[in-house]
Symmetry: C2
Subunit: 229 residues, 2 copies
């Protein structure tokens, strides 16, 4: 039931933001209320999950793959607001309609949960209500951290991004970056050239190693943390 599953959300790891990954592994059977959730849906890569302005019909949980949340400004610039990875819940917003768009980055499996059902249930089920609060609270913290990121220098933004990604994916030697340079640039408020140059610079300082453009090995976290403030 929703209650049991969601109540596992919070306790104590440094949250990869809106994620219940840790508690859900390894079974990750995804229990969020069987009767309200459709089975996980398969999306292929670069496909819209929902669009800005659409009514907010579902909450979403990433079972596998990666999703980007973004907004395109009037002049065509795109701001990526978040990347969501396995275990992250997304699509929970303040209003009845989506303020941002969501697109798959890679092929994904995503569980959809009817928003109205969760909200109705939260009316009488305090535990569910509390969990909704927790999700919104995590989202708030995530966005606040993003603000603090965006006032920093390019080097700092890239370094912090790498540390953040490393924290969120299963602990491996290598960190896989599912998103393109353009995605990263739009998330960090930089151009792809600056992101690329900064990564190259970090590699030259032996802070990281780039076996290929989608993989990073963090060699010297000290240097990254120095950069990352």
């Amino acid at each position: 039931m929703l209650m049991q599953n969601l109540q596992k959300i919070e306790p104590g790891w440094r949250p990869g933001i809106a994620s219940i990954r840790e508690r859900a592994e390894p079974g990750f059977g995804f229990p969020l209320s069987v009767e309200q959730a459709n089975a996980a849906v398969a999306y292929s890569h670069d496909v819209e999950v929902y669009g800005e302005g659409e009514p907010s019909e579902y909450f979403y949980m990433v079972v596998s793959g990666a999703v980007r949340i973004y907004k395109v400004l009037v002049d065509g610039r795109r701001q990526v607001c978040a990347f969501h990875l396995r275990g992250d819940i997304f699509g929970v917003e303040a209003d009845e309609s989506h303020a941002f768009s969501a697109e798959t980055i890679t092929d994904c499996k995503i569980v959809l949960i009817k928003r109205s059902a969760v909200i109705a249930r939260a009316e009488w089920d305090k535990e569910v209500a509390r969990q909704l609060q927790t999700i919104v609270g995590c989202e708030l913290k995530r966005v606040q951290a993003h603000v603090l990121l965006l006032i920093k220098t390019a080097k700092e933004r890239v370094a912090e991004f790498l540390l953040e990604m490393a924290r969120r994916v299963p602990p491996n030697q290598e960190v896989e970056l599912p998103m393109s340079r353009q995605d990263i640039a739009d998330y960090l408020g930089l151009t792809i050239e600056t992101v690329s140059r900064t990564l190259t610079g970090l590699e030259k300082r032996d802070a990281i190693y780039l076996p290929n453009s989608r993989r990073v090995v963090l060699r010297d976290r000290g240097v990254l943390e120095m950069c990352g403030g």
Copy 2:
């Protein structure tokens, strides 16, 4: 009583983002329990209301004056996350302790509401619970808007800031800016020199008029909106 005092606050201008005025009108009682609120407290200017890391004991509502919410980074840079004006509620955060600090900018009158009492009441009073959600939701939207602001150019940031301030204060010819250039700069992620130059530039283009450094007349909103994206 809280409700009565606050309902005198300026019926009917467009609310600042973190404000519940909208929903509270026309009674404007933050009905979160009159008996739990102390009377409005007077603070002088540049005084700490709460500090980063302190346990979150109260929610706050600005009755008069202006407050800045900020964080000082390890290297001494300061990021101002929000300005709160009359009618705004602040101090509502995701965790039990404050992630940011709050300081008065001007002399202020602030109503304090015991957080624990509000939360306890929200347990059984659906209306209060709903309002808490609304406050957090507004805060989320505010921070999301801040992210979108920070990726823009200096001109755009300053123009958008002016429009935002004009929207939040009582509709007058002149907009009073209670905060210093340094505050504005730290909010916009710029230096004071850049803020100053940008304002001068806007004045030269007849978009604004600066009778003095704390007042702005918006002469040509078209130009500002052009800038502000």
